[in-house]
């Protein structure tokens, strides 16, 4: 079985079919409770985060930031700052020790200028880093840095940046213009072409055209970006607030002429969340590089920090303007969609805004052009998640055309479900060929959602239902495919501890609060036959290898395989060890525990190994591995005369690697669907939109960690509603300075901002490619819900507001009242 499991492990890479090796009984997988393993630590304030790290002699480092949206340092005088009491070292952009560029992490290792002398957005970290006894001292010293600037022209709005006479946002790297994706990546990434768009519109009974805008919004990680760097001799010890500790270790090893990987000690403590965001920015290890230099120079550990305001520079990749045209037949069959979008500052302009319509529908004729442009604002990176532009488009396309045809949007969705321009019959055939039960995921989700929100009773023509409280009632629906199935790899291991037989899962990863660790414990416990409380996973320590961490939209579907393989191999190891005489001392072989049995005769349940045909013959895992004794961890009473059982060290690793659905090559169609329903009330005097009910129906394939899935459903709802109604980073058009980089003026949702229930409905069709048929859930709700506010408000007031976020001002403008 061990060899068999290893060959399965390899077979599963890029598998194109349903899980062929399911588990018969789910004891812990998919069940509620027990309590969160990290819950007591977090609620009692004992959980340690990177910002809490305090080391003897530690200095705090802060960055100088640009006051201008586009400017170059001509001269910098740091003498006064250096003389400031408590300042221990200043690193300047022109320091001879700094390389021209170094690998500073991000989504992929990438060479970047460590400490730039030119800023391309206001607030950019540049010019100097000050290490001082306290953060306050560093902050004050920064004010004594004097700079002579070359102030350059800037551009802030995506469509402005496209104009021929627009200032160049970054003439040093992009001298050819602000529109960069077409030249860099070619048509394969800028254009989506499917079928015959002219023919599609000619076949249409109804055509609607509209323009939509999505203003810049951002991630807001509760813990500020930070890190700690200490040199123990020539060995770096690093604390990262990072979703990608594996990339972190790799980039650090490339610095200073090369640092051997085995000398680097990483710590990835509890993470005050970042939702992708900061972890994806190319420059995200600039702080660590500068801290490493100053830690070496001062001989002291250095903690670097951003201010809360500095965390605001950067945003989600859907910022921009969308022009969309949809054609459909009277019955709701969409014949063609054409789109053009101008999107700002995308660090990876590869997630086309029409991609969902390709992967999620049968719409035969599509044409979309994506223009990625640079402006003088911070980098826009995947922030829960990279599909925002896609779901924005899909929701608005479907809801605009359904309303224009006076059709129920759930019916229009069902009529157009499919993939790559093909009908459901084709997709169902795909399901069968791949070994899945051909279930109609979207229909199941819609039926459950409609019942929960009482759709048939509440749905009404737009702008027609005034409530007794005077507000207008709106109700809306949207849908999307599953989340998500991307490229990635994972290495995880399980070790059985001597003395008590508990299992420790190994593999460093970022624990940002989604309780993924509990999922892996559940899989390990069910596969090993152990009690859930006997399995523990601390991903914050560095065993030298890494699991997939929340970083590429794909975690459980990859890590789940790795931990399952490890558990299955380990179980076989345990059973073989239980029947075999293993090892010899001077006194002969150790006696086996089950001398007359083979591994297949044994089973493990509740952390006890027993003989299947005679369960009374049993030994607990704790007794089996035995205690460590005075003569070392394994030798027992050998030298005293008694003979005892002996167990080899029990340790197994598993791994997984895949390309996933996410590849450009459409290797495996997405089969699971998600449905979302929302009710709102709109006050037509104030323009206020009040969300009164949300129903999220997620086909997650198979639930592994029930409470965690629900947490993503209601948690994502608050983030989604905030994004849809209030979240907008505002810049001053005259100075290019960010105006609301704080949590008083940038409004995220509070506990009172949803005035009603959030239903969390989970559907398990088993049609995911992950272990047990699982797909992801963490990104769906917060990504899909913002655009749903559009049709919800339309349903209430009968006028489209396609400019997001839908603030009271924009509602009143739409009503002609402002």
């Amino acid at each position: 079985m061990m060899r068999e499991e290893i060959s399965r492990m390899e077979e599963m890479f890029d598998n194109l079919r349903a899980d062929r090796y399911p588990l018969k009984d789910f004891i812990h997988i998919g069940k509620r409770g027990p309590r969160r393993v990290d819950g007591i630590q977090k609620a009692s304030g004992k959980a340690e985060y990177t910002m809490d790290v305090m080391l003897p002699g530690m200095l705090t480092m802060r960055f100088f930031t640009s006051p201008y949206p586009h400017a170059k340092i001509k001269n910098m005088n740091t003498r006064k700052a250096e003389a400031f009491p408590g300042v221990r070292a200043i690193l300047r952009y022109d320091d001879p020790e700094l390389p021209e560029a170094a690998d500073l992490g991000g989504h992929v290792p990438q060479a970047e200028v460590v400490l730039p002398g030119t800023a391309y957005f206001q607030g950019q970290e540049m010019g100097a880093a000050v290490a001082a006894d306290t953060e306050d001292i560093a902050e004050q010293a920064l004010r004594f840095i004097e700079v002579e600037w070359e102030v350059r022209p800037f551009v802030l709005e995506p469509e402005e940046a496209l104009k021929p006479d627009a200032p160049l946002a970054n003439p040093d790297i992009f001298p050819f213009g602000n529109h960069y994706n077409e030249l860099l990546l070619g048509e394969a990434f800028t254009d989506i072409k499917q079928g015959d768009i002219e023919k599609g519109f000619a076949e249409a009974d109804k055509i609607v055209e509209f323009r939509s805008e999505r203003r810049l919004h951002t991630w807001i990680g509760p813990e500020r970006p930070c890190g700690v760097f200490r040199w123990n001799g020539d060995c770096p010890e690093v604390w990262v607030k990072q979703q990608r500790p594996h990339i972190a270790k790799r980039v650090i090893s490339s610095w200073f002429g090369g640092v051997p990987m085995n000398k680097i000690q990483m710590h990835c403590l509890y993470q005050g969340a970042s939702f992708g965001g900061w972890s994806q920015v190319n420059w995200n290890f600039g702080g660590h590089y500068c801290a490493a230099v100053l830690a070496k120079r001062t001989g002291r550990p250095v903690k670097w920090t951003f201010t809360r305001r500095e965390d605001f520079f950067g945003g989600e990749m859907d910022e921009g303007v969308y022009y969309l045209k949809v054609g459909a037949k009277k019955d709701g069959t969409i014949t063609a969609v054409e789109g053009r979008a101008v999107l700002a500052n995308q660090q990876w302009p590869v997630f086309h805004f029409l991609k969902h319509l390709v992967e999620n529908t049968r719409i035969p004729n599509l044409y979309g052009k994506m223009l990625a442009v640079l402006t003088n604002k911070g980098p826009n990176v995947p922030t829960r998640c990279e599909q925002n532009a896609n779901t924005h488009t899909q929701s608005l396309v479907f809801d605009h055309i359904a309303n224009a045809l006076n059709l129920d949007p759930t019916e229009v969705a069902l009529k157009n479900d499919g993939a790559y321009g093909n009908h459901m019959e084709w997709l169902n055939q795909q399901k069968k060929e791949r070994g899945f039960e051909a279930r109609d995921s979207l229909r199941e989700c819609i039926e459950k959602g409609k019942a929960a929100i009482d759709w048939d009773k509440k749905w009404h023509p737009p702008g027609t239902r005034r409530l007794p409280n005077g507000r207008m009632h709106g109700i809306a629906f949207t849908w999307a495919h599953e989340w998500d199935d991307s490229a990635g790899s994972s290495e995880m291991a399980i070790r059985i501890e001597r003395n008590d037989g508990t299992a420790s899962i190994l593999g460093m990863g970022c624990d940002n609060g989604v309780d993924a660790e509990n999922s892996y414990c559940r899989i390990a416990a069910d596969e090993l036959g152990m009690k859930l409380e006997d399995v523990y996973y601390n991903p914050r320590i560095d065993p030298g290898f890494f699991r997939m961490t929340p970083d590429s939209s794909t975690n459980t579907s990859i890590n789940g395989f790795a931990i399952r393989h490890a558990a299955r191999i380990l179980k076989q190891q345990i059973l073989e060890a239980a029947v075999k005489p293993i090892a010899k001392t001077q006194r002969g072989s150790f006696p086996p525990v089950f001398p007359d049995a083979g591994p297949a005769d044994l089973e493990i349940r509740d952390s006890v190994i027993f003989l299947k045909k005679d369960p009374a013959k049993r030994i607990s895992l704790a007794e089996f591995v035995g205690p460590s004794r005075s003569a070392g961890p394994m030798a027992d009473l050998e030298n005293l005369g008694d003979r005892t059982a002996f167990s080899v060290p029990l340790f197994a690793y598993g791994y997984h690697v895949q390309t996933g659905t996410y590849s450009m090559h459409h290797v495996r169609p997405r089969l699971c669907r998600q449905a979302h329903f929302m009710e709102v009330e709109v006050d037509t005097d104030t323009g206020q939109v009040i969300v009164t009910k949300v129903v999220n129906v997620n086909d997650v394939g198979k639930v592994i960690n029930l409470s965690s899935c629900e947490g993503q459903q209601y948690g994502g709802t608050y983030m989604g509603v905030g994004r849809g109604l209030t979240e907008e980073v505002v810049y001053d058009p005259v100075t290019g300075v960010m105006l609301n980089g704080n949590l008083l003026d940038y409004k995220i949702a509070t506990i009172l901002d949803i005035d009603g229930p959030i239903d969390t409905i989970l559907v398990e069709t088993g049609m995911g490619y992950g272990p047990y048929g699982v797909v992801g859930i963490g990104e769906d709700v917060a990504t899909v819900l913002p655009a749903l506010l559009g049709p919800a408000v339309y349903s209430a007031i009968g006028v489209w507001v396609d400019d997001f976020p839908i603030t009271p001002k924009r509602v009143l403008e739409a009503l002609g009242k402002a």
Binding site: R35, D136, A273, T750
Partner: protein, 200 residues
């Protein structure tokens, strides 16, 4: 047991070396003759109680109470999320009232009785248990602020309604969106505390 003879207690004036019989006499003498405080307090020295423990700490005038609690006393459960009184993560209870420690100057806390999340956790393990059981946290960074705010609410209103809990927590931001679980955890705590009575 041998009785140790009591030494005669004498008090020496630090300004003129006059010997006095009692501390009260010494204070009266210094005030009358030397016109100064008898026991001068070093600048910035404050006395406060944190989680029932008395502290005498010298603080800089610009330190916030957050800095004192988190950086100086090492009670790192009190968190800084927004930095300007907008998020509630740094909430502590001061003399029975929930206050934002990032908006409170440490030097003004002379004589204050402070309760941090560590103190609440020690006296209310059942509340912490309910938070863990109902997943009233994800990344957990803002959670201590919620727990302290809830404790301050319960001190004033031992059996709050769901709406009262939500209103009390309206100033606590949670980016992960764990909001719906907090009223559940709190009401479960209230219910079980009522039956068990073993948790304050």
């Amino acid at each position: 047991m041998t009785e140790i003879p009591q030494q005669e207690c004498r008090y020496l004036c630090p300004y003129c070396s006059r010997v006095l019989d009692s501390f009260e006499d010494l204070k009266a003498h210094v005030l009358a003759e030397h016109r100064t405080e008898p026991v001068p307090t070093p600048e910035g020295l404050i006395h406060l109680t944190v989680n029932g423990q008395p502290y005498e700490v010298k603080v800089d005038p610009e330190w916030t109470l957050y800095q004192l609690i988190h950086d100086r006393l090492g009670l790192t459960g009190t968190k800084m999320f927004c930095d300007r009184g907008a998020c509630g993560s740094c909430t502590v209870i001061m003399d029975g009232r929930a206050v934002l420690s990032c908006m409170t100057l440490a030097i003004e806390c002379e004589g204050a009785d402070i309760e941090t999340v560590e103190g609440v956790a020690a006296t209310h393990p059942l509340l912490i248990e309910k938070y863990a059981e109902h997943h009233a946290m994800q990344c957990g960074y803002c959670t201590p602020g919620f727990v302290v705010t809830v404790k301050a609410l319960l001190d004033k209103n031992p059996n709050p309604s769901q709406q009262e809990i939500k209103e009390a927590l309206a100033g606590n931001l949670c980016r992960c969106g764990t909001y719906p679980q907090h009223p559940v955890a709190v009401q479960e705590f209230v219910k079980e505390r009522g039956s068990a009575k073993n948790d304050a």
